[in-house]
Amino acid sequence: MEIPYNVKSRPDTGLYNAKLGIWLFLASEVMLFGGLFTSYVVLRVNASAENWPHGLLNIPIGTFNTFVLIASSVTVVLGWAALKMNNFARYRKFQAITILCALGFLSIKSIEYSDKFTHYEIWFKDGHRQTGHIHQDGKKAWFWNTKTLAGAPAVKDAKGNVVKPASPPIAEFEFSPDATHYSDAAKHTKGEPAAAEHKESAHASGEHAAVKVKTADIKRLSAFVPAHSTYFAIYFTLTALHGLHVLIGAVVIAYIWGPGAKLWKTNPEQYVNRIEVSGLFWHFVDLVWIFLFPILYLL
């Protein structure tokens, strides 16, 4: 049994099955990301200026990553064009660059992530707030929150073996605050010296010397993790979902590039179709990033 129009286009629609399928799938993806972008707008409109962090993401790294993705889209298309002109070796080269770009993007993203997981904000009981880094035994502390300071009893399994040793409560810890807090910018109008100082220091921020902070003075402590604020919640949700798409796209493209390339010998037309379909998906993923970058990093 042969399913019609698997490889050749149907004359009246001008499409082969997989192309129509991927476009329908992308339509649903548009609605998925559309839902999240809408949520971003709703959350942002509802948030007060002090609670919507600004300038905490690294713009040079983000820009670089954006151009990595744009470059990968270009190489996908060039690889496809090369294959259409029967130049398999050239296609292989271009598509290898695509895969490397995808992996590069993901590694850079993971560095950005780990940067956030070791960066903290403290809400003091007297109402002021500070961002900065926490050091414990000379190492950066990961994923702390208010509950970490209270300590936790040991976790035991059913047989009584200790799965996770008890952590003692922390009364005081070492904190290196950043020069400015992101909400300062919201308090000053643009053009005033204070704002200028903030802009200068936001990225190349020189840290102040480490200070001792007492747990008793703290109302809330959170790393820049999703629970920190709705901004980081939507930032991590959107970028993680996008990162998942990048990963899936890279795996598919790598499969077609590597073990799937046998098809080029037996059914070249279908092989070119596969490149096109995976390329369409890849373009969609990159297009999402083109929108994500300004709304998360700049605005």
């Binding site: 889209s73 996908v76 064009a81 643009k190 802009k199 990225h203 096109e276 369409l280």
Partner: protein, 68 residues
Amino acid sequence: MSLKAIHIVFISAAMLMCVVFGLWALGEWRAADGTANLLYLIGSGVGFLALAVYGWFFLKKLKNVSYL
């Protein structure tokens, strides 16, 4: 819509993003006057031009491929 068509859409969107980035950098630079912002401004302009040139080449090279 073929890969060619969406690539053109994509390059246009990327150019648009360069414009947005440039405008943002301009605003920041006028407000705060940092060298980093000036670099962003110049960089986004260069990016815009590079993408425009590439897009033009691309259209010329793939003249014979259908948009459908």
